[in-house]
């Protein structure tokens, strides 16, 4: 068993707080991704789990034992660093065998185990090479082998793929996933790349400004983000400013900066009042684009709540820009002077061109709303 608990973990450097009140339970054998922009405290959190930083406050337990004050060399965690930190004066094999040597494993055995580990990461036969002569991808594999060789309870990965090019990065993501499934060990992987987190993670923990905002399975954090920051960070979206103009049973009516009044269906008391400012999130995948808008939609009049609880919302705008991105085509649209974007798959036959009038439609239940402080409005 190698579950990790972080309890109100905090790290301050003088006046600045790098990590604030982080509490999470990392389950045995899961792959948790800590995702966040640079400076969000995710690497510092990882280094505290490794024992390379001492927390200012809070505690860390590993497999039930309090390790908060245990130095890195006494913890059975192992880190793959961003720049891999291979020892340049040692051969590849000596690098991989280093941890075993520190554990006083006999020379012959550590040689065999290191070679087996190099085979596993497809670097067999590179044992006698000088690590400084290897390519980025090869160094990455050696670093992974070096960390796995000590058979750690927990493998910690500090953005190890961020220095690789896109193709190699994607290959390594799949390999990491496979290694994780093979070993059934606990992995904590730090990244700033949403796609990487979605590809790898059993659960994602999203950090911003030193705080762990939400922890959940990839679908959960994407579909049900805790606040506006997560909604904006996990994918592209249209944030539209609006103000509540009326709250009725089952619906919140808002006046938007698009110049349209929209209806957000709700099945509970949404705890908003007339005059509350809300930011709406319209993700491109919930928007559909129609050519030749009909006259009645252009008026933006009555938008009733349908029987199944959904509402049909629609706005009319002008295509300003067409951005061909291979698998998708992105349209920048001006709706009464406010910029929005919507997407279609690149395969769709009737490509729209700049200057065309279009109609954008969506189901009101797909819209997320956030208060001015970023918190989510439960609709």
């Amino acid at each position: 068993m190698s579950e990790i608990t972080l309890n109100e973990l905090e790290k301050r450097y003088g006046e600045t707080t790098a990590v604030e009140d982080v509490s999470v339970e990392i389950r045995d054998g899961e792959l948790l991704c800590l995702l966040g922009p640079s400076g969000s405290g995710k690497s510092t959190t990882l280094r505290m789990i490794a024992g390379l930083e001492t927390p200012t406050d809070g505690e860390i337990t590993l497999a039930g034992a309090d390790v908060t004050d245990q130095p890195a060399y006494e913890r059975n965690t192992s880190t793959v660093f961003q720049d891999w930190a291979l020892f340049p004066h040692k051969t590849v094999l000596e690098n991989v065998a280093f941890g075993l040597k520190m554990r006083d494993v006999p020379k012959e055995e550590r040689r065999e185990r290191a070679e087996a580990m190099l085979e596993r990461v497809q670097m067999g036969g590179y044992g006698d090479e000088d690590p400084t002569t290897l390519s980025g991808g090869q160094k990455q594999r050696v670093a992974l082998a070096r960390s796995l060789a000590v058979n750690p309870d927990v493998l910690l990965l500090d953005e190890p793929l961020s220095n690789l090019d896109k193709r190699l990065r994607e290959d390594m993501q799949i390999e990491l996933r496979e290694i994780h499934e093979d070993l059934e060990e606990t992995f904590v992987h730090v990244t700033h790349d949403q796609d990487e987190a979605f590809t790898l993670a059993d659960r994602i923990g999203i950090m911003d400004q030193g705080e762990l905002i939400q922890v959940g399975e990839p679908t959960e954090v994407y579909e049900n983000p805790a606040n506006r920051f997560i909604e904006g960070f996990l994918g592209d979206t249209n944030f539209v400013g609006s103000e509540v103009v009326g709250v009725t049973d089952g619906a919140v009516r808002v006046e938007t900066e698009l110049g349209y009044e929209l209806v957000l269906p709700t099945d509970r008391d949404p705890d908003v009042a007339e005059g509350t400012e809300l930011t709406l999130s319209l993700r491109p995948e919930v928007l559909s684009i129609e050519r030749n808008p009909t006259a009645d939609a252009a008026e933006g009049a009555e938008q009733p709540v349908l029987a199944d609880g959904s509402t049909l919302n629609a706005v009319v705008g002008t295509v300003e820009n067409v951005l061909y991105r291979g698998s998708t085509v992105r349209y920048s649209v001006s709706v009464n002077g406010t910029a929005m974007f919507a997407e279609r798959t690149g395969a769709s036959t009737d490509a729209l061109t700049a200057g065309e009038e279009i109609r954008i439609e969506w189901d009101g239940t797909d819209v997320l709303a956030f208060r001015a402080d970023g918190s989510r409005v439960t609709l």
Partner: protein, 271 residues
């Protein structure tokens, strides 16, 4: 355009000529010393009236000079060891712990270099008398260490600033304790720097005169101290012979340092 280029070349040439002239002017005394050491007469004159190795023979026959030579080497090696240990540990400690003690370390280490050696010499003489170290090798080694440690410290600061500290993290993360990680990971990366620092300390000690004058006794007197006593009695080419030895030792030391720091570069060129 071309006249500008022309002017630039002229300026470069003038700069080089001036630079070389200055260097030659500073190195000329060394040449005089070496040449006069081969004098065939008892007079220290340049150029010598005749040439011979008689003063070298004399040197190798003189117990007093050979003893002084031994003393200088013993004290130099001792200073190099102690100063290197202190300088390396100070610079290393400051890198891994960014506490407030670290920020005052640099000025603190510098202080001995700023105090006139005469004052240091007198003070240390009184102090070593109190603690019963008077007349020992240790007293001179400690005095020279005061001077050599800051130099080693600053050399090591610059060496450590080029070290990839993530390697230390990696070593500890893989189970290497503080001593193991230093020996297996830090040391192989900085050993050339340590060697250069130690060599610097050795040369500083070899040349130091003022503090040694105060602290040495006839049985521990170093080459500069003996040279000074001898010159006061008679100005003969023996002083040049001794100086030539000192120059040769220093030059060999510098060459060793160059070889040590460029060993990897050298091996890449040869392979």
């Amino acid at each position: 355009m071309s006249s500008n280029l022309h002017r630039e070349r002229l300026e470069t040439a003038a700069f080089r000529a001036g630079y070389l002239a200055l260097l030659a002017l500073m190195l000329l005394p060394l040449l005089v010393v070496v040449v006069t050491s081969f004098s065939g007469t008892g007079r220290l004159a340049f150029p010598p009236e005749s040439y011979s190795l008689m003063w070298y023979v004399e040197f190798l026959d003189s117990v007093r000079w050979l003893d002084a030579f031994t003393n200088s080497i013993v004290i130099g090696v001792g200073t190099a060891l102690v100063a290197t240990l202190l300088g390396v540990m100070g610079a290393f400690g400051q890198e891994i712990d960014d506490g407030s003690l670290g920020s005052i370390l640099a000025p603190l280490v510098l202080i001995p270099l700023l105090i006139p050696p005469v004052i240091l010499g007198i003070t240390l003489l009184m102090y070593f008398n109190e603690v019963g170290l008077r007349g020992s090798y240790a007293s001179i080694v400690l005095a020279h260490t005061l001077w050599a440690t800051p130099l080693v410290y600053f050399v090591m600061r610059s060496v450590f600033s080029r070290f990839d500290w993530q390697q230390l993290d990696a070593a500890q993360d893989l189970g290497a304790g503080p001593v193991q990680s230093f020996v297996h990971v830090v040391l192989p990366n900085v050993k050339h720097g340590i060697f250069v620092g130690g060599l610097l300390a050795f040369i500083i000690s070899l040349q130091e005169f003022v503090m040694a004058l105060f602290l040495s006794t006839p049985s521990t007197e170093t080459i500069p101290v003996l040279a000074w006593t001898e010159i006061r009695q008679a100005l003969d080419p023996m002083v040049s012979v001794v100086s030539t030895f000192l120059i040769v030792i220093s030059v060999v030391g510098i060459l060793l340092a160059v070889v040590a720091t460029n060993l990897e570069w050298l091996s890449k060129q040869l392979s």
